[in-house]
């Protein structure tokens, strides 16, 4: 406990940093739940593919520590482009392959859930077997560095060296911390505005509120669902970039635990609610860090889930309540 009090700001800032990543991934769960009333359990894999896209683009461009500012900005920009494109693509592909055929046949929601879990395994294993896949298609020599040790960690060079820029209560806040927290909030503000003001956003809200009436009003439901998956994927891609800048190491199964945490964050804040995802992510990141400080790091997941249960006991719909439609109407 004394440790937590002494280093309160250190635990807070680092908790917010990882919380920002949870929040961005949680958006994907929340958006899809909002329009489809369905938990997209393969979303963790969408995030994981983003981390690899970010890693690969840095390797491709020859990213290394200690480069000039212009170079670093270029690399980070390319990481965003690559990770968002990859995650967005995977999310849309998932919708086409794993969900749309079921929806067309009016399958019950439970079937879609099983389909999602299956898709999650398939995606993770494809990444875990990437060295064999490149072997089969004969690209081994060209891609060796990218697929090496495909079931082990893959590390990225530190392209932004963490530098302390200011001090809060004894903790030196680094440029990476600030970039991640501010960046994540900025992206979420943009998303909030997109859903609130744009035509597509209005479509998303309409489908979330009442799919049938929305269809009667001329909203193309399939298109809206596709856009929702795309937006969720792009958010996961952004989360992947922040994750790689902060943690810098990924693996074919890196999405699993993070996905569970992000899903928890979404439920915590009220699934289907965008601002709830943001709040839930930050609270979860903080709770884990404070819990680790007080009772030891091996208990951090326990602390997070106890908190979730407590909140759901008293507020079964999460902190800010459900429903994408109502909260934004």
């Amino acid at each position: 406990m004394q440790n937590l009090i002494d280093n309160f700001f250190a635990y807070t800032i680092t908790g917010l940093t990882i919380g920002a990543v949870y929040a961005l991934v949680a958006l994907g769960y929340t958006l899809v739940y909002g329009v489809l009333r369905l938990i997209n359990f393969a979303h963790s894999e969408v995030f994981m593919y983003g981390t690899f896209a970010a890693l690969w683009v840095v390797m491709l461009l020859g990213g290394r520590p200690g480069a000039g500012v212009g170079q670093v900005i270029f690399w980070v920009a390319m990481m965003f482009v690559a990770a968002m494109a990859m995650s967005g693509f995977i999310a849309v592909l998932l919708e086409r392959v794993a969900y749309r055929p079921l929806r067309k046949r009016n399958a019950p929601p439970l079937i879609a859930l099983i389909s999602a879990i299956g898709a999650s395994f398939v995606l993770a294993e494809i990444m875990g077997l990437r060295s064999r896949i490149t072997g089969w298609v004969g690209l081994d020599d060209n891609l060796r560095d990218y697929v090496r040790n495909s079931r082990n960690n893959a590390g990225m060079p530190t392209i932004i060296a963490p530098q302390p820029i200011f001090t809060v209560g004894g903790y030196h806040v680094t440029n990476v911390d600030v970039f991640v927290i501010v960046g994540a909030i900025a992206i979420m503000v943009v998303l909030d505005q997109f859903v609130k003001r744009s035509r597509l956003g209005r479509g998303i809200r309409a489908v979330a509120m009442d799919p049938e009436s929305a269809a009667l009003m001329g909203v193309n439901r399939d298109r809206v669902i596709q856009v929702t998956f795309l937006v969720g994927g792009v958010m996961a891609g952004a989360a992947a970039v922040f994750y790689m800048l902060k943690i810098g190491i990924t693996r074919y199964d890196a999405g699993f635990i993070l996905g569970v945490k992000a899903f928890t964050a979404a439920v915590l804040g009220g699934i289907g609610n965008l601002r709830g995802a943001l709040l839930g992510g930050f609270i979860l990141g903080l709770a884990e860090n404070y819990g680790s400080a007080v009772v030891g790091s091996q208990w951090k997941d326990v602390v997070a889930f106890v908190l979730l249960i407590l909140i759901l006991l008293f507020r079964p719909t999460g902190l800010l309540g459900e429903s994408l439609g109502k909260a934004r109407a």
Partner: protein, 380 residues
């Protein structure tokens, strides 16, 4: 003894009847050959360890050594080759019992090299003991494994009761740390080792933490280490967690010495932690490649790289079993053969005490320099 004979004779006969071995046609019909060295048993030895998954490198280094020993044997015994059966546990204790059963059910398997890790050893060794199938582990270092009275347990290297104190000694005498932080990964191996280091360092330990395997965000641990003012950190665990841990510590500006043990002695640690891995001290009861130049040369010729962590120990473990097969031993008689074994191997004098521990133990220190793990000598 009677029951083992009852079991061994039909086995030998069955092997002969199958006629799949290389002995010449005429001899195979004589039942008198049963149990004799002349009969080819088509025996196999098992390799039990992580061959895929995040810890696969450690298993593959061992497997390479085992394969080299097999090549040597099969070159000499072209008419009756021994084959290797792989039991890929991925280092996961929950998968180990099923794999152990598979090995036990395959009557041609006369000995196991492994299980490679301590957790999976704890899970699988009781079954091997019950079945009387000998195991020689080239890498599992938890001291408690030898305390179970398993008759089939042998360890071809020093355990953490020697590695732990050696690591503590190195931290005190060579790193000259006065404030040491200790982290473990709650695994059979990591926690066992870290607890020994904690005990040996005593009041010099300024803080403790336990992380989880597969964890990637260590921000809470990082804050604990940096705020404790520690000038050295000992981590008991494996490389998939060691790499992100040291990376995040260095990112947070921690300047102390990172000390780890044999579970991190794996090139993938450096590949992933990159510059953050520089200066890391690794203790290991494994013998550096250059003490056995002949083995080093043979290994390099086959795999195009130097022998790595526990390759030599894997070679030695397999050699003991193969010598047993050459001496006409089967699964039942192999245990006593290994117990009485006393020969010079590539890593050390291969001899076991009553508990199955290696009689000749050395611990070495290694350091990460210029992206390579280099030996800095024995810790005495």
């Amino acid at each position: 003894m009677r029951s083992t004979l009852k079991f061994a004779v039909p086995l030998a006969v069955a092997a002969l009847a199958l006629g799949a071995c290389g002995t010449k046609g005429g001899d195979t019909a004589t039942p008198a050959a049963s149990g004799g060295a002349a009969a080819c048993g088509n025996y196999k030895i098992g390799m039990f360890g992580a061959l895929t998954g995040p810890n696969a490198n450690l298993g593959i280094y061992i497997q390479n050594g085992v394969n080299l020993a097999l090549d040597d044997y099969n070159k000499k015994h072209g008419d009756c080759k021994v084959t290797l059966e792989n039991y890929d546990s991925q280092g996961d204790p929950t998968q180990a019992p099923a794999l152990a059963k598979k090995a036990i059910d395959d009557k041609k398997v006369v000995g196991i090299v492994g299980p490679a890790f301590s957790g999976e050893s704890k899970a699988a060794d009781p079954a091997f003991n019950e079945a009387g199938l000998v195991t020689i582990t080239p890498s599992a270092t938890n001291p408690k494994l030898a305390e179970n009275g398993w008759k089939t347990f042998f360890r071809a290297l020093g355990n953490d009761a020697t590695q732990g104190p050696a690591a503590a000694k190195y931290i005190k005498d060579t790193v000259k740390s006065t404030k040491t932080f200790v982290i473990d990964d709650a695994s059979e191996y990591g926690k066992g080792l870290a607890d020994i280091v904690r005990q040996d360092l005593g009041s010099q330990v300024v803080g403790n933490d336990t992380i989880q395997q597969k964890q990637t965000d260590f921000s809470a641990s990082v804050t604990k280490v940096t705020s404790s003012g520690a000038d050295a950190l000992f981590f008991g665990g494996y490389s998939p967690e060691a790499a992100p841990l040291i990376k995040q510590l260095r990112d947070a500006g921690w300047k102390g010495t990172f000390v780890v043990a044999d579970g991190v002695k794996d090139q993938s640690f450096i590949d992933n932690a990159k510059d953050a891995a520089e200066g890391t001290v690794i203790t290991c009861p494994c013998v550096p490649a250059d003490v056995a130049p002949e083995f080093q040369a043979a290994y390099k010729a086959k795999y195009n790289e130097d022998p790595n962590t526990y390759s030599g120990e894997g070679y030695d473990s397999a050699t003991i079993l193969l010598d047993g097969i050459a001496a006409g031993k089967d699964r039942a008689s192999m245990v006593d053969f290994v117990k009485a074994y006393d020969k010079k191997g590539v890593t050390k004098q291969l001899k076991f005490d009553a508990k199955g521990e290696s009689a000749d133990i050395k611990v070495f220190a290694y350091k990460v320099e210029g992206g390579k793990i280099v030996s800095v000598g024995e810790i005495k």
